[in-house]
Amino acid sequence: MSSSKEITENILTKSLEAVTEPNYKVSIRRLDASFGAKQALKNINLDVKENSVTAFIGPSGCGKTTLIRCLNRMHEMTPGAYAKGQVILDGINIYDKKVDPVIIKRRIGMVFQKPNPFPTMSIYDNVAAGLKLNGVKDKKMIHDIVKESLEGAALLEEVKNELDKPGVGLSGGQQQRLCIARALAMQPEVVLMDEPTSALDPTASSKIEELVHELKKDLTIIIVTHNMQQAARVSDYTAFMYLGELIEHGPTKQIFENPKKELTERYISGKFG
């Protein structure tokens, strides 16, 4: 049995080597999750391809947010919350007891529904927050990564002269891109987005959607959305969930134009939800 440190090292180093075959980036196997006595996810099995955008859709309470939060082990933040099963990132199960949940967060980043920049920090410090937190002290490295991340989040142009202004002074859409930059700074391979545009106006939303399209060239993106049109626009694969179960999963075009399950078809055509 490998030691905890070895597993941790593996988790960080493994996919830096070139991947020789089109593997699945993330595989979910037999995942159950609950809040105390209430079960929220039942036996989820799902594979996510690298450099793709996968959308989780479904009516309120179907478990899509719970699922996404299981993917970076944030689910267990809630008191009484519990998850069982496997989430395999490049061959390593992140739920293995020996894996440190803190280290996972470098490889899997997250963006939340309501933009949540740190109010006491400037734009620059917000993006650098994760780096400083995890021990980076090299000022040049931080500077380079901050600029890169702001660029990657399509925000650099707009704020490049006001990097020391407070993060909360930006508009809603800009704040969300700031949060994306903050997540990008950690050099993740997977980015989870929990309804990232639901608090934003249409213009800001479409900017984010464009961004997702750009980002998937280097990253694997999983996005939860209650907006079906958004899922159709933005994702390559779609997973439809209902009452904690995965009903159907496949290429977006197929799900929307030719769903295999009746439940999927009824949700897509707006008959409920």
Partner: protein, 314 residues
Amino acid sequence: MHKRRKGDKIFHSVVIGAAGFTLFILALVAIAVGNGSMKIFSLEGFGFFTGTDWNSVEGRESYGALPYIIGTLFSSAIAMAIGVPISLGVAVFLSEIASSRISTPLSFVIELLAAVPSIIYGLWALFVFRFWIRDLIEMPLHNAFGGSIPFFAKTPFGLDVFTAGIVLGIMIIPIVSSISREVMKAVPDSQREAANSLGATRWEMVKMTIFPYAKSGLLGAAFLGLGRAMGETMLVTLIIGNAIGASAIPDSLFSQSQTLSSLIANEFNEASSELQLSALIGLGAVLLILTMIINISATLFVSRMIKVSPGVKE
């Protein structure tokens, strides 16, 4: 119709009167204390604050508040040094670590600490706790550093400003921790989640999101604790050693001292002259002003945090 309006009118006046009574009480306090201390202030003026005499011999009467101001500040400073960190620790535990099954009974227990009358703290400190402090902390410190650092110089026997400060620190734990906890709870979960998603350990999350966000509220909580420590009387009379005059100025942790409130309590009923009584009331005036400034600042800090905390602009 007529009767109804009359009933309302009477009730209205009654409640306004009751509310006005609050203002009346405060005015009463200000006038009583101001009037009572008139004599000493007109005699000594500003010198009252800087003098160190406490001489009640007829013909040579002279009174100065300085030693007791210093005693109050010094003992309160020790109280803060002990009480505030412990309170923050308790607040962090209750707010971030404990499940509700633990936090509910635990917070009740902490509140019980506040319900204990201060005279009972005094009794316990006098007959029990001071021996613990003397044997477990003061003696070792004195033996180790007494020769080299004047701060630890005097031979300790437990009744001194240090013990008083420690017990005062314990007394302020309930109020500082409960307000700190309220203030910490006001930090939105989205902040905690953001820190967590970047890989923060629990302590790192607290340092990164809760302390900066709740900074002014926590400061307010500490100030409220300070106000409480400064106003405490009975406990102090029993364990601070009751020094008078210049010798009440503590020059070591183990000095005997005196606070504004403890001297008032000790001498008020035995005051031998009107001037001495006025001096004691003058001490009360100083105490009143000090605590008022601190309590008002504290309230401002706490409410400022809740009102002005920056949020997301849509």
